[in-house]
Subunit: 347 residues, 2 copies
DNA sequence: CTTGATATTTGGAACGATCTAAATTACTCG
DNA sequence: CGAGTAATTTAGATCGTTCCAAATATCAAG
């Protein structure tokens, strides 16, 4: 019933050459004569040959697959990151193997194991919350190049690419202070993550530098999502002494904060200054357009992929920790000049 | 330098059995004695053995990989769809191979080819815009089970899982008519897609049914994104006879429409009724919460995966076209009663 | 203890590509 | 024409697993 698979031997027979020659053609070797190459390619087309990567991998022990593991694909920051990785990886002739862990360590363990079994030649990981250096130890020991993105893990001994969360948060808060705000909150995010830690330190640093206090009640954690933002701002508005501005853990939280403000009939930008973090695609087109610390997720994915490819090609490379710069993108949500509004929105 | 790979033979030697027995243990065969199994498993752990799926696939010619191809990963609808697929596929012991085509046919061709080379045992595809039955012909001819999601392709001869776009659009527009709207626009989406077509027919059908005209000027296409929504509503508000409500192609467009309305100092829900399509996660928490036709992307991914698995297990199954029902979720953006607002938002 | 089941284990041939080293062919030049 | 070199082609081993058929161990019953 089912016709047998077409193999190199079949094409070899059809083209009147040996399977070795066919293999050479498949690999685009310059050794083979033009006429022969054409004959082989014709046979490949005619017989509907499909290359069998499993067989090839078995012999070569290196697989043109690179894996990317993200902790939350429904967060567009990570979706964009994955798209960035894909672009680079793809043009380097690799294919991407994407898995979502949903922040679950156990699931992360499984997907990493599965990727190793498939012989990925490198791995880009945005670790699930609570991942420890030990969790990555077997992977690292195996010598597979690994690049951690977004969240670094101390002592893991692999390369990492993070954004300058501290400086970004500092710049954002400085901006708010310059605009006259004195009571500034830090909203959203899980307090037990390194990213939260760094952004919060930046926030505190900028306040201290300006001689302002940063009472603990103004730092309100929540899920790093839109829903989390809503609850965080609600809690902030319960305070007897309300803040007039907030730096949010990320853009999703910032959107939630805007939602929550509107629910209380406050207009973000005009009545309360909001700054996000990440600069996801929607930040630009939202109304009011979101002032945010641009991390450029797609670009970050690209850089992570390049870093990984470099390591794959170099064999055993030194691990490096790259902190990529961020910049504050001032739009409307922090109360920027109103005349800019129409211009930005109309794009 | 690099230590040699540990293989079944190594474990066999370490455990004092033959490689066949090790293979049996690996597959969880009931044939092997408990004591032996324990000994083998211990050796596996001790030597840090990593299963080589390429080798296994080569022999078995079936790969426990299922592929999922989406046309736009940065659209959270598709990200959620992928998450739904992943959940099911994962618990069935398969791994997911996700690729993003970014709506490019050429890229789609490449990723599908790559997946075939990796020997996927089934494929879930949300085809790029403009995909034709012919593009899928070689894939279909190969006998690999394929399930099309979201966008069906006439004559492709494979199973498909789409949502009842026509009925959903009709229900939404009926709702707007009941609330007294007479001039209702259809905003966003690429007019050359089947999904657009179906939703638009539903929109027109509901208007006709109520004896209302549906002038072409009220149907305004755009990119199916937030930015597209902004431009679409801007265009709609240029009309001499402005609409008072709109059914949007999808939720992203609906959010953009809300943005655009606010830019003109109109409050969505109060001054203009907006209904979306899809019910992405943020629809519920946005302010105003978005009234939308719920397609349940994650659930759809799950069902698509189940359909595919059924086909993989059944061998050559009849292809079926499933249209899953949708339901209108009334929230605030269409001008629902204000007292419901706090309740929904507080979740 | 045989004997016939039943339970467990095993050797060796696949699977479909790549790689090595060697063979063949073609070409250049005196 | 024949040597020497360059350009092509090739046979056969090999990668790490699974499968088959057959071997061996174990056990209950006579």
């Amino acid at each position: 019933m089912a016709k047998k698979r077409v193999t190199v031997v079949d094409i070899a027979r059809a083209a009147g050459v040996s399977k070795s020659t066919v293999s050479l053609v498949l690999q685009g070797s310059p050794l083979v004569n033009e006429a022969t190459r054409a004959r082989v390619n014709a046979a490949i087309r005619d017989l509907g040959y499909v290359y069998n990567r499993s067989a090839a991998n078995l012999r070569q022990a290196k697989s043109k697959i690179i894996g990317i593991v993200v902790n939350d694909l429904t967060n567009s920051f990570f979706a964009e990151l994955a798209v960035g990785v894909d672009a680079v990886v793809q043009s380097a002739g690799f294919v991407q193997f994407l898995a979502n862990t949903g922040e679950k360590i156990e699931r992360q363990r499984e997907v990493i194991a599965s990727m190793r079994e498939h012989g990925v030649s490198g791995l880009i990981i945005s670790p699930a919350r609570g991942t420890e250096a030990g969790d990555l130890a077997p992977l690292v020991a195996s010598g597979i190049p690994v690049v951690l993105v977004v969240r670094d893990i101390a002592g893991a001994g692999v390369s990492s690419l993070t954004s300058d969360n501290h400086a970004g948060a500092m710049a954002a808060v400085r901006h708010l202070i310059e605009r006259g705000h004195r009571r500034i909150a830090f909203l959203g995010g899980f307090p037990d993550t390194a990213v939260f830690e760094a952004r919060m330190r930046g926030y505190r640093g900028a306040l201290r530098e300006a001689g302002l206090a940063s009472p603990d009640e103004l730092v309100i954690g929540s899920a790093p999502s839109r829903a989390g933002g809503v609850t965080a701002i609600e809690q902030a508005m319960m305070l007897k002494e309300r803040p007039t501005a907030a730096l949010c853990f990320n853009d999703a939280v910032a959107f939630g904060v805007c939602d929550g403000l509107r629910a209380r009939r406050l207009e973000p930008g005009a009545d309360f200054a909001v700054i996000g973090f990440d600069d996801v695609i929607e930040a630009k087109t939202a109304v009011p357009a979101l002032t945010t610390v641009s991390v450029d997720p797609q670009g970050m994915g690209e850089r992570a992929a390049e870093l990984l490819l470099k390591q794959i090609n170099a064999g055993r490379a030194e691990s490096e920790a790259i902190v990529s710069p961020v910049r504050l993108v001032v739009r409307q949500s922090c109360g920027a000049a109103v005349e800019r509004r129409t211009r930005e929105v109309s794009r």
